[in-house]
Symmetry: C2
């Protein structure tokens, strides 16, 4: 079963369709995306007991805030690194939910960083990211990479170009252990060789051909599916 | 592990907390509730291929509209019986999503009713229901009971008193095969002897004691859990 990889423009068009013609409300989409990210993280890191969620100021960060709440429900100790708090009412509600769940919301990485049993959920930037990574996200990402703790990225590894992939300008390259693409994978992750999940079971299957998008069918009642792993020798 | 059964007033207070102090947005709650209902239905009726969803005009109906979309994604043929369309913008969005998923939305039961391989999802009335059942819901429920097709109810079997249970005034008594309670079961279903699921994994576990609510822990990343079956001889 073939998998489409879409460019940034098509990803934006899919998002417009979801909240336009398809009638979805943003809180429905972030709830499902964040839940899918949390489920994927729990499958990848079943033996960890702590998650540090990196939340950006946009919709990718919204997915991260939702994922933090679900990971806490799944039994992980959670804290959220949320350096640029958004004034968007939906983001504020998601933040409030985390606070009610006793999830610490921090402006920077906790120090000292845990050395083990901990993973990062990278939800800094999503499909609308344009390089370069700016302060303070650049130094946080560098510290994340230097920590050698494992990472699962949401939609796109933060700092990667949505279309061309890992940065080649000498800046820090995040190489996450796992990735969960939402709706449909983006061109920039075509070469990603870690565990690759697909989540965001939003698209009407009957409309996929119209959208020229091909994604494998989800199994049963699953919110996520694992895509075949890239052979990095190709 | 003990399970609380709450009265109508407490159920309303929990709902107020969810959307007040806890900061949830209604579309997040209905998305999770509807997903949980769809997952429970798929577990109870794995060999059916058709679902008829009964959607009321309120939040219980909203859960039903969401469940219809997920059941369609799970591979069931779906139609929604939605006799009193709400002008609420969230309900209209949920209806639009069903239409995009090619789910028929009907004012009354499809006729002739299928005789097999079909189940009902009863999402007419939820925890704020006050008897009696009014037209046209009364005659639809009677036809559902007469059809002998199996039913899964969402939150409370429609027509049951939220506190005292099945109606005793001679009106039709819906006896669903399965029930999915949301957040916490209501007093009226204490005697329910079918398969009983709990969904709506919204409550912060740390606050359950403050709320004097006891629910068993959900397993792993599950959106639902099955409660021990009542021994109807008790």
């Amino acid at each position: 079963m073939s998998v489409s990889y879409v460019c940034q423009k098509t990803a934006a068009q899919v998002d417009d369709l979801l909240m336009g013609k398809f009638g979805y409300l943003l809180p429905q989409l972030v709830e499902q995306a964040g839940l899918a990210a949390a489920v994927a993280a729990a499958r990848v890191f079943p033996r960890s007991n702590r998650a540090i969620i990196l939340a950006g100021p946009g919709n990718n960060g919204a997915d991260g805030l939702v994922a933090a709440r679900h990971l806490k429900l799944f039994g992980y100790e959670c804290s959220v690194v949320y350096p640029r708090r958004s004034s968007n009412p939906i983001m504020q509600s998601l933040q409030q939910q985390c606070e009610v769940f006793s999830i610490d919301i921090l402006p920077d990485l906790p120090r000292p960083l845990p050395s083990s049993n901990t993973f990062f959920v990278d939800a800094f930037f999503g499909f609308s990211f344009k390089p370069p990574v700016r302060s303070p996200f650049d130094s946080i990402l560098k510290e994340v990479v230097d920590s050698k703790l494992p990472v699962i990225s949401v939609d796109i590894p933060s700092g990667w170009d949505v279309e061309t992939g890992p940065p080649t300008d000498g800046t820090t390259v995040l190489q996450p252990e796992a990735l969960i693409s939402l709706s449909v994978p983006k061109s920039g992750v075509k070469s990603f060789s870690g565990r690759h999940f697909l989540g965001g079971r939003f698209l009407p299957p009957g409309l996929l051909p119209v959208l020229s998008i091909s994604i494998p069918p989800y199994p049963g009642e699953e919110m996520i599916q694992e895509l075949p792993r890239n052979d990095s020798s190709l």
